[in-house]
């Protein structure tokens, strides 16, 4: 069962359709599956729903799919950096479901872990709680949030072996593991595929069982806010 594909287009072959629900890893522009997003753009599938913490910027990340109007709905916690997003949202072209960041991450982890719903204090007493089931535990009120199961997950890791075991680097890990878990199929792009057996089994961040297809490629890894300290 070969998981390694030649490029993003081949890795997504047969998986893309209009109207599907895609979970994407990444936080801001850090650790985003840029090659797979480009291939989705080129595929021209439309009416996509994305669960992704952010929506990229106008010309990078999920932003490129907003430019081409391939996205119908976003489930995100913060979309502030994307002007085209805001235009489409305010004009009613784009549906937006705000999830608190931790709730979004946990919904992905739950959906991938056979947990259809869980309770959290996050959002109690706010508009996020509207219409959600409330329940008290030990005198405190919680709301029920549902697990997310995506048709497809796209994630970015640093290294993989040929069986799909993934290793991430620094804060580029972020939403990638929970996003990978919640997909019925998960495609991962990495900077380097190493031979199976060259990763330490104790130091694998995401076991290959979650990863169905795999590509290696060059990444731009754009920096959103280049913030430096003065060196005296």
């Amino acid at each position: 069962m070969k998981k390694v594909f030649n490029n993003a287009k081949e890795a997504l072959s047969g998986l893309l359709k209009d109207d599907i629900f895609i979970a994407a890893g990444g936080f801001g522009l850090c650790g985003i599956p840029e090659l797979l997003l480009n291939a989705i753009k080129e595929s021209k599938v439309k009416n996509l729903t994305f669960a992704s913490n952010n929506a990229g910027v106008d010309d990078f990340g999920i932003g490129i799919l907003l430019q081409t109007k391939q996205v119908r709905k976003m489930i995100s916690s913060y979309v502030g950096e994307n002007a085209e997003f805001m235009r489409q949202y305010l004009s009613g072209e784009l549906e937006l479901e705000f999830n608190p960041q931790g709730t979004l991450a946990e919904r992905m982890r739950a959906g991938g872990s056979g947990i259809p719903a869980f309770y959290t204090k996050t959002g109690v007493g706010t508009i996020i709680a509207d219409g959600k089931e409330h329940k008290d535990f030990d005198g405190e009120t919680y709301i029920m949030e549902k697990g997310l199961v995506a048709d497809l997950s796209i994630v970015k890791a640093w290294k993989a072996d040929e069986t799909g075991n993934l290793v991430f680097r620094k804060t580029a890990r972020n939403f990638n593991p929970p996003a990978a878990m919640c997909g019925k199929v998960c495609v991962a792009e990495v900077e380097e595929i190493v031979p199976t057996g060259s990763l330490d089994p104790d130091l694998i961040h995401l076991p290959g069982i979650y990863v169905h297809r795999l590509i290696q490629g060059d990444h731009e890894k754009r920096i959103e806010q280049r913030t430096l300290r003065e060196v005296k």
Binding site: C30, Y78, E106, T122, T126, T171, A172, T227
Partner: protein, 209 residues
């Protein structure tokens, strides 16, 4: 007269206790890390998935895989650990973070916090703010006492959509420090050159003693 941003941050830094894991919001709260008292070791969490956040990088240290929750490039420290966002918010919701220091648009006398949206204006999203105020051990708000129109940001009830209900423990403003207690707000101290009466005058919420 009153505290400036750095004085507010310095005052907020006195909330820190040795060994605490702390989350600092953007704006004035970020400045708090410049005033951590000597002998106090605190570990800063970045909710995208890091404990032990270091300072901004030099040109040489710049790393696109290393950013904070404000998407700024940062550095790591000897005690740093990385983890995924589900784990990160697990520790937030689970009360493992002792304190969050956050900015605010409005705080009510019941400790309600509004800091994420203004109806009719561009809504960027709540990010991790709702999780933080619901989950961490203690929430300290640092903000200007009044808005640009001179109106109190401390109110009987928030007018803006809430980030959390009854979540704020302490408010530090340019005019002083107030605690959310049973029945209202209690003045803990006033800023340099500010009288108790001036603080009360500027506050549109019930002050209890």
């Amino acid at each position: 007269m009153a505290w400036d941003r750095n004085q507010m941050a310095a005052r907020a830094a006195h909330e820190l206790q040795d060994g605490w894991y702390v989350n600092l919001g953007i704006g004035i709260p970020t400045l708090v890390s410049n005033y951590i008292p000597k002998g106090i070791e605190v570990t800063l969490q970045s909710e995208n998935g890091m404990l032990g956040m270091g300072p901004f990088p030099t040109e040489q240290e710049l790393d696109s895989d290393l950013i904070n929750a404000g998407k700024q490039t940062i550095t790591e420290l000897p005690q740093t650990s990385y983890f995924d966002s589900a784990q990160s918010f697990g520790m937030i919701r689970g009360g493992k973070i002792a304190m969050a220091i956050l900015g605010a648009m409005e705080v009510s006398e019941a400790g309600d916090l509004a800091n994420w949206m203004i109806p009719g204006k561009l809504v960027k999203g709540m990010g991790g703010a709702m999780d933080l105020v619901a989950g961490v051990g203690r929430v300290v708000v640092v903000m200007d006492h009044t808005n640009k129109h001179g109106d109190s940001k401390i109110l009987k009830e928030c007018t803006l959509p809430l980030t959390g209900k009854a979540v704020v423990n302490r408010i530090i403003t340019n005019l002083g420090v107030l605690d959310v207690v049973d029945g209202g707000l209690k003045i803990v101290e006033t800023a340099d050159g500010v009288t108790k009466e001036e603080l009360i005058e500027s506050t549109k919420a019930k002050i209890v003693s």
